[in-house]
């Protein structure tokens, strides 16, 4: 059974721009996949549709049995609670500590205090930030901030972790560290999808690579590398 099943998806924005044409894609449970492509290739649109920030114009996207495109705005949160999302700009709340930035997600869902503490510390431990729980985001390096964001994304044990250019703002060494963290999370059973521009990382990780070009699927290979001849 496929975990994510994308069938004949087309996305046209109200402005008339079509970002994706007739996309077909399956991702298995426990996969680690890179989505790569040049700017304007439709990769951002694709993952935005995965966490239901956008809806497909045609076709359907099924995640874990749920037709994501048909989800009403009011019900979107039900999907998002099962998906973790990490962004290029971290999106941390500056006035909360590291611990609070992760714990507030669980607070909103109504967990009790001991449960929150256990889960939050476990997630922060996994990303290697247990020592910095009391720091504020602006006291951390970029890599550390991104690790807080990852901890927040995985704290509720999601089935799927989506990362939108997670290393876009980081130097190569730190980027690789982040990738190692994502790999650990993947090994624990979470499906991970990473959108990236970063050639080196894709080549080093040797995971599945999905290449989009001008809104179409161009290549999809297991244990792939960034082909130097591809224009990305």
């Amino acid at each position: 059974m496929e975990f994510i099943k994308i069938t004949d998806v087309e996305k046209t924005y109200p402005s008339g721009v079509t970002a994706l044409y007739g996309l077909n894609l399956n991702i298995k449970k426990g996969d680690f996949a890179f989505i790569i492509g040049a700017s304007g290739s439709g990769k951002s649109t694709l993952i935005k549709m995965l966490y239901r920030e956008e809806r497909p114009t045609k076709g359907e996207i099924i995640i874990g049995g749920v037709n994501v495109g048909k989800l009403k705005n009011r019900k979107t949160y039900k999907l998002r609670r099962k998906i973790g999302v990490v962004f290029q700009d971290f999106k941390l709340l500056p006035r909360l500590t590291v611990y609070e930035n992760v714990a507030f997600v669980l607070e909103m869902f109504g967990y009790d205090k001991t449960e929150i503490r256990a889960k939050t510390l476990k997630a922060l431990d996994l990303v290697g930030l247990k020592e910095k729980v009391k720091s504020y985001p602006d006291q951390l390096s970029g890599g550390e901030q991104q690790r807080v964001a990852i901890a927040r994304a995985i704290v509720n044990a999601p089935k799927l972790l989506i990362c939108d250019e997670p290393t876009g703002n980081l130097d190569p060494d730190t980027s690789l560290e982040i990738m190692k963290v994502l790999e650990v999370i993947n090994n624990l059973g979470t499906t991970v999808i990473v959108v990236t521009h970063d050639r080196d990382i894709v080549n080093k990780m040797k995971k599945r690579v999905i290449l989009l070009d001008k809104g179409k699927l161009k290549k999809d290979f297991e244990k792939g590398t960034y082909d130097k001849n591809e224009k990305c």
């Binding site: 039900k78 998002r80 999106k91 909103m108 994304a153």
Partner: protein, 302 residues
Amino acid sequence: MIKMKNVRILFRNIRDGLKNVIRNFSLSMASISCITVTLILVAVSIIGSLNVENFTKIIRDDFTIVTYINVDADENKINEIKKSIEKLNNIESVSFDSKKDIADRMKKESEVFNNIMSSWSDSENPLYDTYLVKVENSEKISKTANQIEKIDGVQMVRYGEGMIDSLISIFKIIEKILLIIVISLIVVTAFLIINTIKITIFSRQEEIEIKRLVGASNTSIKQPFVIEGLFIGLIGSIIPILITIYGYNFLYEKTGGKIFSEFIKLIEPFPFVFIASLILAIIGVIVGMIGSSSAVRKYLKI
């Protein structure tokens, strides 16, 4: 189990709501002072309109139909007239004022009257015995007066005809105008506050966006903001309430409860100021909550 969860969420939102008022204090101050200023205006107009209403009621209660009884009526006839009056609708009280009492009062009032009237014997007294009739509904006073006039043995009735009718219509207009002022002030306050809160929430767009992305439902995003609005409304009503309580007491004591003349009496301060304060607090809280809720709506995808 689900219930426990919701209680926990509610308490966390109350805590966060309060925290946010303090954390964003400079922005909260904008909303709070906006509520304070407008609530002071609302307080003044509420106190004014309730006092005008009270004062018109006092005057209305004082409206009396003076019923003059025929000079030849004997004691039986006089009692009969009283019974006939009491049978009518809209009668609150009927009291007898004999011509002797009236003459005595007049003598006391003026030296001239005293000299003339002292020479009269009871039988020579040219005044009429009267019934002073108070009505329940002063708006129907002329109808009731006409009915009394038709009773056998009644010489005539007087109730200040034209003047009272025009007073009643003036009071009605004043009451309507005050009501319109109070309501429009409240509406203006609501709009001002909604806009102020919208501006302050604008700076927290990112917070709302992040919460949405990590799976917060619309309700769980909205709730802390609405509770924050509740606190802002409550804090904003403190100064208007203090002004109401101390200001009104001060006014009442300074004037001895009367302004301009003996007729215009102020409402006793207690418990009036507490009721007015409660009204202010409720308006502040409701407007604060509605303001926050409609302001945050803009940033939710519904």
